[in-house]
Amino acid sequence: MAKTVLSVDDSSSIRQMVAFTLKSAGYEVIEAADGQEGLDKAKQRTVDLVLTDQNMPRMDGLTLIKALRALPNYRSVPILMLTTESGDAMKVQGKAAGATGWLVKPFDPNKLLEVVKKVIG
């Protein structure tokens, strides 16, 4: 069964690119436009990997990660932060929130695929 990735980003161009990239590699992709929507969709269906942006309306990435980690189904699901903020402060916060890793935007589709493959195969 194809692995499912939840892509959370308020920018639809980034979402489309992520979805296109991952779908072309055989993953199933669910999209959400902000943290709140991401959380709702994650609750509907447990995914294999969450890719989330940090700066989003309604709910930001860190809050989403914390909320996901509080769910029994998501204690061990890998969560990657896709963010333009590569500062150490953000990494520390991401780590504290429970993120598995981070990927700096802008990113190259191949790089994304490479990282995703490392995480969920």
Binding site: K95, G98, G101
Partner: protein
């Protein structure tokens, strides 16, 4: 695997343009002294998204500008800096520059590098103006630069420790996974990542995910190790979804719990699926579709309407008793076609806020330049009209607003002297009125000066009389080469424009009217059809020809008795209708059709009204009311006076659509059409 990211350019362009728009409108509405945190955050997010997208899609020039902008915005929202008017201005300029870059990438226009440089300098200047926070900003900048660099060293990433700049995994989070895998114990569901046995973390984590650990000291692993260990790691993750093939449950409790979980999961999925199918469109409330596709649909539906009309016409000749089923089917077809047409037309409709949204900026800039204080009010932004009209109305409307600001609104001193508030008001209002959309541009300025306009018109050699109605006098400002501005400014007053405005609006099938009161202000009304493509009309016959009169203009149709016809000295005829005398216009004469004007008692006239004037149009016969698809005569044939377009009737014949406004204007009646 190579992925072509150019396919996402278009959506990025649209998205970035949207973000720029959001940024601008938020900046304009921002209270400089007490900016709302939500607004600042939203502005920041917009800049941030543009930066992220432009970087990802390789538009680095945009990234550079947004980067500086974003840093400033970030510090503003973190309240490390105080917002000033100056900043808002520079931010707006930065928005313009980014938009310029965006257009250039889209292949429209070129980038003025000097301007880019100037804005960047201004932004940097702002950053440096606040010394205490300058240092953190530069740190951020340095960090960001690291991130940009990754496109180059992408190849090295997998095995090199440099990767930590691009992406990484937090050791502690990864650790429990590894720990669990190593122990072959699946008890991880109980353990929160943070609670993983601390002694295992340092030893196993770096081995497994060492490459991605963000602290360089934890990167001693060799690629090979990583490979092996990583496979273990993958294996682990795979077991999360599919049932473990060789489940060696160390803890029976786990297996049980796991099974339970799966069951509930499955149930959950089964239950949620149908709901999510429905929920999906609600979540993604819009899709972007190329306008060409929509236009294609509209054209096809137009053809369908014609085909349907043809069928209806053929069916009307057969015995309806014998072909009852056919007839009822055709009726249903007619209804469905009409519904389909309505829905498809609505796809092209956009709220007028698309146009109105540009005016806060226009007014702000211009008021600043002219030293006037002006408030802009917009009403009815949700009013929808055809996309084609939205695009075409923007320029004329801009001109009218600029004109109101330049000529209408007085200087603050003058206003105070006249007992008005120093701040003038310009109101933009849109509303539906029957089949029309009405756009009003109202100012509370000085109003039009009748004497001045008349004097100017004489000077320009325009035909004027002292007894012209106010309405006629006001319309003079739309004549070519007319300008009453005492001083020609760079804003308006060169006398180019108002005539163009009127012409452009007329080309859209619209009309302009002016209301003005000296000392109180001026209101310019623009009436536009809702759509360019379809029209409700009355078909009338004159001789062998069929004409369509747009329904919106028609007041009534009646049989004219001989006694009501009056001849006026000079050759014209008037009709006496309920106490009013209306000029009579015989279409047969207007279009020089052969045959005599019916002289018997059965003279049918259609009373139409436009621009406050009524005329009686004499025809031979009333045929019926139709919804017709407008086909442009200009693009298919050539422009004809008195005709606004053509349509294809149910029997396949072409019918011309009357340009009622042109017909009703006196000179057109006398000269142009006869020629």
């Amino acid at each position: 695997m190579s992925i072509d990211i150019t396919q996402f350019y278009q959506i990025f362009f649209e998205e970035a343009a949207e973000h720029l728009g959001t940024m601008e409108s938020l900046l304009l509405s921002l209270e400089v002294n007490d900016p709302s945190m939500d607004d600042l955050n939203a502005i920041f997010r917009s800049a941030h998204s543009i930066k992220g997208g432009s970087g990802t899609f390789g538009f680095t020039d945009m990234t550079e500008v947004t980067h500086i902008l974003e840093n400033l915005l970030d510090r503003l929202r973190k309240q490390e800096m105080q917002l000033t008017d100056e900043m808002v201005n520079v931010f707006l300029e930065a928005g313009d520059v980014i938009r310029m870059q965006l257009y250039a990438h889209r292949g429209e226009g070129e980038v003025d590098q000097a301007e880019v440089k100037m804005v960047c300098e201004k932004l940097t200047q702002l950053t440096q103006d606040v010394p205490p926070v300058a240092a953190p900003a530069s740190v951020t900048a340095a960090a960001e630069e690291d991130a940009y660099g990754f496109f180059d060293d992408a190849a090295v990433v997998a095995t090199s420790s440099e990767t930590h700049q691009d992406y990484g995994f937090f050791a502690e989070v990864a650790a429990p996974i590894q720990a669990v895998a190593a122990d072959a114990s699946y008890g991880f569901f109980d353990d929160l990542p943070a609670v993983a046995p601390p002694d295992i973390v340092p030893s196993s984590a770096p081995q497994d995910f060492g490459l991605f650990v963000d602290e360089p000291t934890q990167l001693p692993s060799t690629p090979q190790q990583t490979q092996q260990e990583a496979q273990q790691g993958y294996g682990f993750f795979q077991k999360v979804t599919p049932p473990p093939a060789t489940a060696t449950p160390v803890e029976l409790a786990y297996a049980e719990r796991r099974a339970n979980e799966r069951r509930t999961n499955d149930e959950g999925v089964a239950r949620i699926r149908p709901a999510s199918d429905k929920a999906a469109p609600a979540a993604d409330t819009s899709i972007r579709v190329n306008v060409e596709k929509v236009d294609q649909l509209i054209n096809l539906v137009g053809e369908l309407v014609i085909t349907q009309a043809m069928l209806a016409q053929s069916a009307s000749t057969v015995d309806s008793a014998l072909y009852e089923k056919l007839n009822s089917g055709l009726h249903q077809l007619e209804r469905n076609t009409r519904d389909l047409q309505e829905v498809i037309m609505s796809v092209r409709m956009l709220p007028i806020s698309f146009v109105f949204s540009r005016f806060p900026r226009v007014v702000r800039d211009l008021a600043g330049k002219l030293g006037k204080q002006v408030e802009l009010k917009t009403l009815g932004e949700g009013t929808e009209l055809d996309k084609g009209l939205i695009e075409k109305i923007a320029d004329p409307l801009t001109h009218l607003v600029r004109n109101s600001l330049d000529h209408g609104i007085e200087s603050p001193e003058k206003r105070l002297a006249a007992g008005k508030p120093a701040k003038g008001t310009i109101t933009l209002k849109a509303s539906h009125q029957g089949g029309n959309i009405l756009i009003e541009v109202t100012d509370d300025g000085g109003g039009l000066n009748r004497g001045k306009i008349l004097a100017k018109a004489r000077e320009r050699g325009l035909p004027v009389r002292d007894d012209m109605s106010d309405q006629e006098v006001w319309m003079l400002i739309f004549e070519a080469g007319f300008s009453t501005a005492d001083v020609v400014t760079d804003v308006s007053g060169r006398g180019v424009g108002m005539d163009v405005v009127k012409r452009n609006i007329a080309a859209m099938g619209g009309r302009v009217e002016i209301e003005s009161a000296e000392g109180l202000g001026t209101r310019i009304l623009i009436r536009l059809p809702l759509t360019l493509a379809i029209l409700d009309g009355l078909s009338v016959a004159v001789g062998q020809q069929t004409y369509i009169i747009p329904l919106g203009y028609i007041i009534e149709s009646l049989l004219m008795a001989d006694k009501d016809l009056r001849t006026v000295s000079g050759g014209g005829h008037m009709v006496h209708v309920r106490g009013e005398y209306l000029p009579l216009l015989a279409l047969r004469e207007v279009f020089n059709l052969p045959g005599d004007i019916a002289q018997n008692d059965a003279r049918i006239v259609v009373i139409v009204e436009t621009e406050g004037k009524k005329i009686a149009v004499q025809v031979d016969e009333l045929l019926g009311q139709h919804q017709v698809v407008i086909k442009s005569l200009e693009s298919n044939f050539r422009k004809l006076p008195g005709i606004s377009g053509a349509t294809i009737l149910g029997d396949g014949k072409v019918a011309l659509i009357l340009d009622v406004a042109a017909l009703s204007s006196a000179p057109a009646r006398q000269n142009k059409l006869a020629a």
